[in-house]
Symmetry: D2
Subunit: 257 residues, 4 copies
């Protein structure tokens, strides 16, 4: 039986970030993690709570299924969910997309990059159900981007610089920094990338005025930040109808007084 | 003859901040500093541009008048202005308030503290002309306060802390920090005040989420920041009618999409 | 047989920090984690590498022993170590202190607080072997304290302020901040404590000069920082003889040109 | 007659920085600004205190002389000084170098760049008197460089990044950042340069460790910082004999315990 007011979740993907997200969902009373679908056979039919060392009331909650061993249509019928959260890979949506859409299950995707083909598929699904996609699903970064956009609107002539800091091994410019640059109409070559030690992730937008400086900074502490972002999205999608949404769609109503 | 499109300004007060503001106005082609009124007799009838060492086309522009030697009504008639900017003191408005209001001259006040009596007087003037008051008239700080308010609205449960840094001698908590605390419904005792060396002024609002941190920072470089704030206000008051406005009233339209 | 040049380690304590430290030691080729001693019976005789999910060549390395089931003298004889690292509790030293000292095993303690009695015991042990104690065994914080001390020596009149930031639940002023204040001869009430969200740990020392500001900042990313600190200490104690050392003793030679 | 214990100063150069330095010297009781030599004829024979609006006991102190109108040998004889401070240009030393050296007047130069020929000349002068040269004569930046060098010595494998921030118009990489890179054996292309608004000057050295980050930051508030640096140098050169010194020579004794 469904718990009162809780939102039932199916999670796609159980890599490092998937695990962190599962851990946050399991510890939040307003959400119920019903099952996890992953490509690997490892941990098949084990409880996510058990694997992650989290104590939950109902240890049957959140069993892990392997794609190859599982009939997803059956799973969705015997163990129904209100929303599917996708932390798998670019092709993940083909596994669950149509089955979810025809059941009106909301789809929340946090995949970093999609090819045009996948985006088109997503848009077609959004004619049947509520579909959401954000390449960086943390509350802080998305807030920062909107806030920065407003400051640029207020002072279009202000000098803007972006500094992003990440651990030594990270290759290429951070996707989040590229997104910030895009939102602010900046050239992508202007981003300053710092690579040092084990920095988890830090983004700073510097607004240089003639006699004052404004700095908007986001610091990631751990991957679990994605979990909290997901829950914020799920909560704010509850009342949304059929359509294709991004993070800005959910945040803008808060900015309109 | 009035220059095309320029806004004609009368400045009340010529202390350290008044001078910095005058200097910014004199260097901006969209504004014309017509006269300055101050209490002291020092520098009477000298040109502000000359005193401040700024080269201007018309050195007759921006003469300094002492309150005691000047008939303000005459000055307003022979040398009319579109807006009066007040950087004097709490009682300054009694000098110019009624004369300005009946001539529909816009009033822009940057006085830090007013007593209830002065606020009441201000409100009565706002029935005849456009009246604006902001105790901290910099663009950055006012943007920060609104932005912070939105983040709290998005995540009402987030932990918030304020850190303000100023030069060693500054007494008491900074008025700007107190205002930020008020806007965010925080207890004023929660503000952390740093006093060290010659720090001009730095305000940081820290939003602590479970797995990420957002920091909004404003750094003052010099008093001239008030000048730029004043020009932003003057520009954005141009189309505003009779009424009593604050900085938030001018910024909110930029946030509404 | 002992590996060439590696240092053999016995670890006391296997709580959250003990685990992080074990994980760092296991991944460093210059050190060999021979055994772990803990109070709890949980995980008895299991391999630390296995428990922590770390791949090592020799999975017999680093077995976990429970104090109550283990004859420590026997363990030290059959499985000898060069150094003991203590992340247990204030009373931990009574378990291993004398047995280690008489075997000339180096003792490295990272316990936050000791009572005078334990410090006295430590000092007596230091007449037989090399003993080291640091309440905050990270390289960064200890470097910061020495560096700060030198800046105060260079400019004794400079204004100094300390800001420490930690997660919401942390009670009391951070021990590290108190230590910094002590080293800089500052009043402990001057420390500014920020408590917000999930901040792991951040210490900032602000030096306010009349026309410039110097900031020394240490940010903790995770507990594993203690592991790296321990390895630095172990490495730098190799050539040290009998005596009682702290972190400053190991760092100062680097500052002397 | 010379005041007790005060150091008598002759200043070469009276541009923006020269003025700021003069202003700091005039306000410090341990130093006496005897004269200023500049290339321009402007302000000839006026008092620096008067020009800068600073109240001093003896308004004859600190007269401004133009190079072309002045016999410097005569000036040095009738108005002797203990040290000459040079904020003029690369060729300034030819004006005063030999006259100062033969009178054993200490020479303190803060010129940013010298050509090899000038450096050679400086070195020859240092056989007769005490000669000091620092291209960035602030206490904070020089402290930062030495401190950073020690941290690299302690942890040679640490990742280091430099970020420098300056006002929009500043061309090229900051000389101070280049110097920091040189001191830390880093490639000059690794420096991240931010150009925005009116930022006076900010240098940050980031040390990335696997699980912690150390940041050393210097923020300039105004040019007067050079004045305080000069006074520190003059004070610390008092007891130094003939020879060629740099800032590191003066700071290192503070680091040696």
């Amino acid at each position: 039986m469904k718990k009162r007011n809780t939102m039932r979740i199916g999670l796609i993907g159980f890599g490092k970030t998937g695990k962190a997200v599962a851990s946050v969902i399991l510890q939040n009373e307003d959400f119920e993690l019903r099952w996890i679908l992953r490509r690997k056979k490892l941990l098949d039919h084990r409880s996510a709570a058990d694997v992650l060392g989290i104590e939950v009331k109902n240890s049957d909650e959140g069993l892990i299924y392997s794609t190859s061993n599982t009939n997803l249509e059956d799973l969705m019928d015997t163990c129904p969910v209100d929303a599917i959260i996708d932390f798998s890979s670019g092709e993940g949506i083909y596994t669950y997309g149509e089955s979810a859409a025809k059941r009106k299950i909301k789809i929340i995707s946090a995949i970093s990059h999609y090819k045009p083909k996948e985006i088109a598929f997503f848009k077609s699904l959004s004619q049947q159900t509520t579909v959401f996609w954000s390449p960086n699903i943390t509350l802080g970064v998305n807030y920062l981007m909107i806030s920065a956009k407003y400051l640029k609107k207020i002072a279009p002539w202000v000098d803007i610089e972006i500094v992003e800091e990440h651990f030594k091994g990270k290759e290429g410019t951070s996707g989040t920094a590229l997104k910030i640059a895009e939102v602010l109409d900046m050239d992508k070559t202007q981003i300053n990338s710092i690579r040092a030690g084990g920095i988890v992730g830090r983004h700073e937008i510097i607004f240089g005025f003639p006699y004052q400086t404004v700095r908007l900074i986001h610091e990631s502490i751990s991957r679990e930040a994605f979990g909290n972002g997901v829950l914020f999205v799920a909560e704010n999608l509850k009342e949304k109808g059929v359509g294709f949404y991004n993070f800005e769609d959910l945040l803008l109503p808060y900015f309109a007084d």
